[in-house]
């Protein structure tokens, strides 16, 4: 079946612009996660949704970052006033339920470049 889908696969934007990154999780998966991976680093946790609500947003670096999941399926990560330091691969993952018995399924990521 279809895996986690992320669009766009690549996004180039100018410093100061607003961007939206989309994640389509596997159908029926209740838990959804956003991670960010900078060059040469491992993924870094940003935010976790259980259903429609953000259960843990402690990884968001500042208030320029915001994410929603209004119907408990598709999620959008929004970044305002982008900075060059925001350049990274943004990964989305979903799992059937939150616990670690339910494996995380990652998308291919969106590569964001801020010029």
């Amino acid at each position: 079946g279809a895996g986690v889908s992320q669009t766009p696969s690549n996004k180039v934007t100018e410093k100061g612009k607003y961007v939206e990154l989309r994640c389509d999780p596997i159908s029926g998966h209740t838990a959804l996660y956003w991670y960010r991976q900078s060059l040469g680093q491992g993924p870094e946790f940003l935010i976790y949704f259980q259903g429609t609500g953000a259960a843990d947003d402690s990884g968001l670096p500042n208030d320029r970052f915001f994410a929603v999941r209004p119907e408990g399926s598709v999620s959008t990560l929004k970044i305002q006033r982008t900075e060059r330091g925001d350049s990274a691969v943004y990964l989305c993952a979903s799992s059937l339920y939150p616990g670690s018995n339910s494996p995380l399924h990652f998308g291919n990521g969106t590569r964001l470049t801020v010029t």
Partner: protein, 111 residues
């Protein structure tokens, strides 16, 4: 603070040789540890969890709480094992998978 350290960025071994990818962690509670793998042009995927105590694709990993390590081992490397490997720690045992990842080790198996 929780931290995962993978001391080797690159590791190269010959086919048929044993492989050990090192992972050390820093966490005061009871961690749950994982190994994730990313093959060329593929997505990041779970390889194994310490709690499962299973062997996947010939790989095993044992949690050593005394040494705070979770090294990944395979007795005989195969060319298809070439990939990027990440060790990860979950701060919430059995709960939401808010993972802390290491920097990763790129494993190359030479023919």
């Amino acid at each position: 603070a929780q931290r995962v350290t993978q001391p080797e960025k690159l590791l190269s071994v010959f086919k048929g040789a044993p492989v050990e990818l090192k992972c050390n962690y820093s966490y005061s509670g009871s961690p749950e540890l994982f190994w994730y793998v990313q093959y060329s042009r593929q997505r990041l995927q779970l390889l194994l969890r310490h709690i499962s105590r299973e062997s996947i694709k010939g790989f095993t990993a044992d949690l050593n709480k005394g040494e705070t390590s979770f090294h990944l081992k395979k007795p005989f490397a195969q060319e298809e094992d070439s990939a990027m490997y990440y060790c990860a720690l979950s701060k919430s045992f059995g709960g939401a998978q808010k993972l802390v990842f290491g920097q990763g080790t790129r494993l190359t198996i030479n023919p």
